[in-house]
Symmetry: C3
Subunit: 472 residues, 3 copies
């Protein structure tokens, strides 16, 4: 086998300049082995409920990872050739080993990307591989990984423990019965897996399945969700149910950050139009904005931390959407405005120290212009980390460089891995910790921060801030 | 007293790499001791008129500094607990020493921020403190500072001289009688304190006090300011008065950069609606934009340099505004457009080499996209430095990196401290000089600039350019 | 002659830190001598058709370079004093040596800018100058350059060969007869000079010469261009003609990135209004957007690579436009939106792997927000390099840092020099190669990329990617 060596350097992501590198090494020694706090992500609770083995390299590492197959697709590789499932549940008849070979032969496309860093970390540390992935080593990889996955050491619970995960939150919709979370608790296994309440399906009237979802929302909550009051009661009902399954947060994925503050009468009238399906795009936006404000009000009562992930154009590619459905890599960031958009909600709840509202963005121009100054003023506001398209080392570095002066470190909440790719979780947290170490090391090396203070900060960023922010 | 050492490293803000650090050190030796040119800021001329002692640490360093108390507020500390004055003039009954203790116990929130750098500079160099501020050292700090302030060496004029201030400009409204500036001149003291003409109060018809301000504008100028011609004459009249008190510039704080170029008849008709209070938001915007263009016309006549500070949403937090009024940390940057907005004014005066128009921004995305290319073309345009939320080292660095290629160094105007925090002025200028040294050192170390040319440039940036730009 | 030495350091643009510098040196050795691929630019094919000598330093290096004279103009130097031609074809009566003296005396304005780097490279490597340009050395420069230009070694074809240009594309409008390209081919000289199809003159109905251009478009194509079908046939006709003269690409300079996807009937009706001159600004925009989509359709048929350069406000300065016409430095970048704007075109052709669509931007905030994610998904999309106002080392670095994680390297197309300044072409490609080496060296030094992989990548970026992207 003609192969290049795969090596994870102990100093990766640290400056090559000896002074900051030495500082970063010392800071990193404080956090390298800390437990993982994963307060926001998209892993499948069924993994830990059933503890069934993963099937093979392709199913585990390629098919679910839209960071990976979007890049392959952008270079002309058909999704069918990779075995990506279609909307109708079928798949092209693809041998997973062949799909893996395509991936391997094109792994050079990922040079310098976070995906390559995460995957190499997984290959090296989780599977013990010591050669790089390419066309020559494809089968070696496929066999090594697939064989390992058949062993008990690679079952979901064993990996959870091996990874040092102290707590992980999944994300479920309000129609979810949370049976997997219940099963985890009933099993006696003591891994801490929480849910989070993500009600988008019953909040976005422009989603194609909204009427169906709303009907089921009524059934599962036992409320008359076709009246405004009943609809709000249903949310309270489901939030309680989620809290009983460990939820400490809600999550909201909206195209914009628009909020509203309508009177009860206005909201009720608007909801009437929404329910009848007789509404404009502007009214749909207003409705989503009003629900955000209602969610904030409920958070003040029940204590759930509120997360907002705005600014994404979903399913931009209609041909792919028609064939493969959602989440196939055709979501795109949008310019996002926060100062005007959040004012209605903040006017009501912005000064409440017991309300915790974590903002994310896909528009990096807002870091220094809007988000840093807002989080550095409002007691309720916190900044979520560099998200999705921006969670590369450069993106994390820009986040810190552009929010530090206005929001400091303590109005941020540490790292979110936000991933479906379970095996990459340690790699992602390791990257985030290393970037924070490198960033703080630069401040120390340039005499803007004392190293003893940086040593406290780095533990805050990796461990204390996420636990505090998400009430874990 | 359990305390950590406080140390100001001679190489702070310079690269840790020996090559650029050595260059930066040599460049810095050219500018470290140059007099301070402070052409734009918000210090109180009464300090130098009366030369009264400052009262205590809290009143001097905490209460007036919205950079500081906004961060404390963002982490749930009530403004009343810090003794921030309310809109009605009252204050919570707070012992300033207790307020200082809250600040001290939370000083870790400022780690890595410019406030911590400025304050540590003040603590170390102005007050001779050699331990870091925290809960343990709070009283030591309070006593040391407050005791020092009672001595003559810490009176405003003595500090002015100690700080090496060659000239400082304050900012006053058109209704100001400039009695403090007159008193300074009459006193025989030779510190150079100038005023600057900031007419926002009589330019923004949406300000709650506009009708009152307009009436007083008429009284103080002796013009009939309820006609458009009289209104313009009143401005000319007050500008002359300000010039006689040393003013070399005007300053304009607007929500947008919109300018207008109406005919005299249109402007007069618009002004009629403004005076009657019968106008739309769009007309208010148009009016402000027209006044900017009129100010430019007057600048061509009387030589005052014109500054525009757009892009700020003032008083975003209505609860705080109701209780504490303006300037309590709830001003937020907005996305700002310049290319279309400034065209009416530039169409008339953009090519006038004798007109000097200094632009600022709170929207960093405009540096490379709009401001650099505009300043690198129009003879009248200059770029003010990284401003307010962006005057951290990272913000200054971004300003240089994103404007250098299109505007060069000579279309910029050096540093503005823009501060009410008198004691921090040397610290702020020192940071700016160090950042420029570090930036130029990188260019030299990467062989893009010769060190002898950089040595000329660094003196230009610290001293010559601001004197030239502001006609000082 | 009192002069400072001019030196081009072998390590310029590389980090001063020895580790990345060493890596960058090794990477650079792979690409320093590679032939130049120049797929997009604005050189004049008449140079190589006639092979006539350039006249003097001023005519060659100052008068055609709007990067240079815009900066001089911004500091109050009149364009007439530099001998810039006026719209009516006249010029101020200026001795070119005197114009050069003004330039020389103000060359300090360019410190740190890309112009100074490119020019110093030309001075040093092309003309063998070893002192810096300033007032003292002005005549030495003028004489050295002007004398050299009279020799055969400085004729256009000799320089083309000396510069190692493998292929260069010029840009011509659809009304161009391509006689110079024909002459080059007929001459037997084997330098490869291609044209590119830039139809803006017959696409923008708001251009003052559109009706005239459209009429000539009909004449030259032999089609009835006042009907929609005839207009489209005329484009196909001229594209074929351009392909026969070597064109592999089209180029489109629009104020926005708006595209449209009208039915044939709608497009035909819209074209009717355009032809009659009876249209709104919105209709003009829609028309330009529809033509872009038609161009994409034609590209699928004839294989021309499509380039879009949006986001520029042309001729912002009306006084200069009236006197000097277009391209005198008063073009300004605009905020630009891509996600919504390109959707109509991408809905039709975005998934076509045989369609190649290269996007540029003057709004750097779109790199990470829109362009990287789009190019990292759509098979047809590629990102052009940092363009025009952003082709400084800092701009190139931002381009890489903000697109790498989402688009990788292989969805980019290498460097475009985009210049009229023929002599600067080697300097510009050298800067781009050095910046890529420095960027990759940082990734290697921080252990994010193996050096053997970087050595492959750097050759891709300098040579393979542009050849592939532009089908050269």
């Amino acid at each position: 086998m003609n192969a290049k060596p795969l090596h994870l350097d102990a100093n990766r992501l640290f400056s090559s300049d000896p002074t900051p590198r030495g500082i970063a090494q010392r800071l990193y020694s404080q956090v390298a082995k800390l437990p993982i706090i994963s307060p926001h992500g998209h892993t499948d609770p069924a993994w830990w409920a059933t503890n069934a083995s993963f099937s093979n390299a392709t199913e585990l590492l390629l098919v679910p990872d839209h960071y990976v197959f979007r890049m392959l697709y952008s270079q002309g590789i058909a999704l069918d050739a990779l075995g990506i499932p279609r909307k109708d549940g079928t798949r092209a008849n693809v041998d997973p080993r062949e799909a893996w070979r395509i991936f391997a032969a094109n792994f050079h496309l990922f040079r310098g990307t976070p995906s390559s860093m995460w995957l190499n970390h997984v290959f090296h540390d989780v599977f013990g591989l010591r050669v790089r992935l390419d066309a020559n080593t494809s089968d070696h990889y496929y066999d090594t990984i697939t064989t390992a996955l058949r062993t008990d050491a690679f079952r979901p619970r064993a990996l959870f423990e091996r990874f040092g995960i102290e707590v992980i939150a999944t994300t479920e919709g309000p129609l979810d019965t949370l049976e997997h979370h219940q099963a985890i608790r009933d099993s006696g296994w003591n891994g801490r897996v929480l849910t989070a309440y993500r009600p988008d399906a019953v909040v976005d009237p422009e989603h194609e399945d909204f009427p169906t979802a709303l009907r089921r929302f009524g059934e599962i909550s036992g409320e008359d969700v076709h009246t405004w009051d009943g609809y709000l009661r249903a949310h309270r009902n489901r939030r309680d149910f989620f809290i009983r399954h460990g939820a400490t947060s809600t999550d909201h994925g909206h195209e914009t950050a628009v909020t509203a503050n309508l009177s009860a009468a206005e909201a009720s009238a608007l909801f009437g139009r929404i329910v009848r399906g007789d509404f404009t795009a502007r009214e749909a936006e207003l409705f989503r904005g009003q629900v955000l404000t209602e969610m904030a009000a409920m958070s003040l009562d029940d204590g759930l931390v509120m997360q907002l992930h705005p600014g994404c154009y979903r399913n931009h590619n209609p041909a792919l959407f028609a064939k493969y459905g959602r989440n196939v890599g055709a979501d795109l960031p949008l310019r996002t405005e926060y100062v005007h958009a959040l004012k209605p909600l903040l006017d009501r709840f912005g000064n409440e120290p017991d309300f915790r509202f974590i903002l994310f963005t896909l528009d990096e121009s807002t870091y220094s212009r809007e988000l840093g100054p807002m989080a550095g003023h409002y007691p309720s506001l916190y900044l979520g980390p560099a998200w999705w398209f921006h969670d590369a080392p450069e993106g994390m570095w820009r986040f810190r460089e552009q929010t530090l002066s206005t929001a400091g470190f303590h109005n941020t909440v540490g790292f979110n891995d936000d991933t479906r790719a379970f095996l990459s979780i340690p790699a992602r947290h390791d990257v985030a910790r290393r970037v924070d170490c490198a960033f703080l090391a630069k401040l120390v090396a340039e005499h803007r921060l004392d190293e003893d203070d940086a040593a406290e900060l780095v533990v805050d960023l990796a461990y204390n801030l996420p636990k505090r922010a998400y009430k874990l």
